[in-house]
Structures are given as structure tokens and as C-alpha cells.
Symmetry: C2
């Protein structure tokens, strides 16, 4: 039990993409140090080798608020809790919700929240594709559960109009397909059919699938919630099957 501060602590820990050799030692140290491990069950499984003897709070995918509340309750008793997330805990992860809830509920106000960063899906996918993020880029989630779709479209338009590379998280689910079609149309209108895309399913994890090509040929039906999609900008090229955004070292 880690009671050094006496106030309780939740460590929001990013495990990085699926490949265990891409998880930072600091993330594993945080897990070892914790009395309690919390997280979506699939992410808790990834650290199964480090959790013996610890209490586990494992919940379903959409139960974010409940998961954070349980973690904070344990911490409020003076315990150290590691909330494990995929990628980076601060990129569409649990870190913000945890901090927000310490301000919303009196019982949690003394709990410390510490964020351990991880490799986020954008740069993991980029590494597998080549080097698409060599210049300015936007990271946009197409999930409209918490963000209105009008605002998501506005951001996509803004990224395309200002020639930023664009990384899409949560691009397409069984019940939400239209937003991805619209996103693709926006970038096709800007870059033309020969604009470059990349897509990576299970980036840097088991069963990874990597694909790069021209927007006109993007296999829309293969895009799902485990896929990260990247749209290039005017300087993005296909070089030997890799997706690369030129930074401008050579002018020709």
C-alpha cells in the first residue's frame, strides 16, 4: 500500500499500442506500484503479468464514468490506483475525466491524479505507414457520442482547407458510417482522387494490417473502430508503398 501522501492517488497510465515492447517502463512501474488496477477489461488483460494480488476494477467499454468513479473511491481511501488506457491516457482517454471528477465530487477532492504518457495511435500508425506526420497535422475523432457531428465536420474542413495532414480516430462503426464518407469527400475535394491515404488496423499490435494508397481507391468497407485512418496533405507522397509527407528539404 502506497500511503506516502495519505491523500490517495490515481495514475492514468497509457500502455501505448498493442506491442508490449512499446510500453514505457514508467507505465509498468506505475502498475507495480498500484494497490488497485482499473480499466476496460481488454486493457487490464494486457498487464495481467503485473497484477497478482492486486484488486482489479474492470468494466465494459462505454462505462467510463463508472470506471473512474470506482477508481476514485478506492483512491479516496488512501490507496494508489492505476487506471490503464490504450495508447496515451490523455488522448481521448480517462485522464481528463478523472481530473474533472475530483472537482465535481467533494469526496474525491483530495485525490491526486498523475498522468503517465504513452505512444498514441496516431504516431504508432504513422510509424507503420512510413512518415506521414512530418509536417503539421490534426487528430480528429469521428465519434459523435460526445461531440456534435457538425463540429467534427467543421474541424475536418478546417484541417483540409489549411493543408494539414489528418489522423482519424474511431473512424467508422456499424451504426455510424456516414461521417466517414463525408470526411473522405472533404479530403477528395481538396486533394483530388490521387490524394494519399493510409490506414492501419490494430496499429503496432497483434494482427496489424497496414495499407496506403490513393483516395479514389480507399477500401471504405474495411474501415472500422480498430482502424486509424490518415489523410495526407498536398505534400504527401507514396514512396515504395510507404506514406510520406515531404517536409521541404528539397525544392524540386
Amino acid at each position: 500500500m502506497d500511503k506516502s501522501s495519505g491523500k490517495g492517488l490515481v495514475l492514468a497510465v497509457g500502455l501505448g499500442p498493442g506491442d508490449p515492447s512499446l510500453t514505457a517502463p514508467k507505465a509498468l512501474e506505475a502498475i507495480k506500484r498500484a494497490d488497485v488496477i482499473a480499466g476496460y477489461s481488454k486493457y487490464v488483460e494486457r498487464v495481467a503479468g503485473y497484477v497478482e494480488g492486486k484488486r482489479i476494477i474492470s468494466t465494459g467499454m462505454t462505462k467510463e464514468v463508472e470506471r473512474c468513479e470506482e477508481a476514485l473511491k478506492e483512491a479516496a481511501q488512501g490507496l494508489t490506483v492505476a487506471m490503464v488506457c490504450s495508447g496515451d491516457a490523455g488522448v481521448y482517454g480517462m485522464a481528463g475525466l478523472l481530473i474533472e471528477m475530483t472537482a465535481r465530487e467533494q469526496a474525491f477532492k483530495d485525490v491526486e491524479i498523475e498522468v503517465v504518457p504513452g505512444i498514441t495511435a496516431a504516431t504508432a500508425a504513422a510509424a507503420s505507414l512510413g512518415a506521414p506526420l512530418m509536417n503539421d497535422f490534426s487528430v480528429i475523432s469521428l465519434s459523435d457520442l460526445l461531440t456534435p457531428s457538425e463540429l467534427i465536420l467543421k474541424r475536418l474542413e478546417a484541417a483540409a482547407a489549411s493543408d494539414m495532414v489528418c489522423v482519424l480516430y474511431n473512424p467508422r462503426s456499424n451504426s455510424r458510417r456516414e461521417l466517414f464518407d463525408k470526411a473522405l469527400s472533404i479530403f477528395k475535394a481538396k486533394l483530388g482522387p490521387d490524394g494519399v491515404y493510409g490506414m492501419v488496423r490494430n496499429a503496432c499490435g497483434e494482427g496489424e494490417e497496414v495499407r496506403a494508397g490513393r483516395l479514389a481507391e480507399l477500401p471504405v468497407d474495411e474501415v472500422d473502430m480498430s482502424t486509424v485512418v490518415l489523410f495526407g496533405n498536398a505534400q504527401t507522397r507514396l514512396i515504395d508503398g510507404k506514406m510520406v509527407t515531404l517536409r521541404g528539404y528539397f525544392r524540386d
Copy 2:
């Protein structure tokens, strides 16, 4: 010597931010595996414990093309070269330039380039600040050496107008100060003087300095090339000194 492919290999390796416990094991394995270590001298020093007996190609900060050329020359002889970068090798790093040069020079055309991702400064700084990247964001470098300042300003305007959080790399040097002033003006115009900023010098490294506050009070003179600056969006709050972008779990 790693001659398994016979073609030569350059590993573009992201070391993550300064804290060694945030360097992924895969990055260190790549360095151990390499015959030659290349990189900006400051980054090569970070892996000094792993380079005994290896040839070192260490160059100054702005010698990117020369550094890549030397690395590719070694690889073209069948060697494995690790090109070390700070943060992620694919975010304003050497990965893209390496791939581009394999296509430009006949002598390098058979050299393989493999990218090992790392924790980039955006999410490292975010973790130290709290959780500013809980919703869509843009990453924009203010360096105008390779990107025209008009285009940089257009991207800043686009990010602000579409209410994206914005992460600025290379925000301000001794000789380039005006662009940061303009960037700040753009976000002040959008968010008002009470808009939230965060800034982190030496994110997750030695001598880290973390600061969050209101745009009207941003200490411009303390912003330098070792600093990452974040401008929030309309949903960004200061909670107990931390910078947090609300994702919208609670509507009130």
C-alpha cells in the same frame, strides 16, 4: 553486424521525451541491434550506455540532410544504422527525410527504413499539464525554415476557428518571435483573455518547467525552442492548476 536482409537498414528511432523511463524497450533494442548510431549529438548522448563498440555519426542540429546521407551510406554497405531522434522519429523527425532520400539517390534505393515510434512532445507535455488533449487537436510547428509563415498562420486560424486545441512545437527562437505573438493573438481573439494555455519546458525531462494559466497572462518572454505551448479550446478549464479539456461527459 546485422546482414540478414543483405540490403542495409536504417531504424528511425524515437527516444521519447528526456525521462529514460519513457523510452520504449523497442527503441533500446533497435539501438543494441545497430552497427552504427547516428543522430544529433545531444540525442546520441542520451543512449551513451548502449553504444560501446559501435560507430557513431553525430552531427549538429541543423545538419539533417548530411546526417541522413551519412546514415544511408553506411546502410547501403549492408549495415544496420539506428538514427536516434527525440520524441517520435516521425513527428518533425528524420523518418520522412530518410525515406525520401532512398527514392532520390540510386545508391540508397535498396536500403530499408523502419520507424520505431516514441512518445512525442505533445502528449508528454499534455501529461505534465493535466489532460488538455481529451478532444480533437492540431499539432503545428512555428518554425518557418521549411514551411512558409503564411501557411503556418492559416493553420493556426483554422485550428482556432474550428475550436481545436492547438499544440505548438518550436514556438519561439531568439531570431523568430513575431509568429508566436501572432499565434497568441489568434487564440486570444477566439477564446478571449480568459482562454487557457499551458506551456512546458523540457517536457518529461531534466529541469522540466510546467505552467498553466489564462492567455492574458501568458509569459511570452519565457517561451523558447525547448518549450511546447498548448492553447486550449472553448471546453478547456483550469482545475486545481491543471489544464483539462472537458470531453462532455457531464452536461451542465
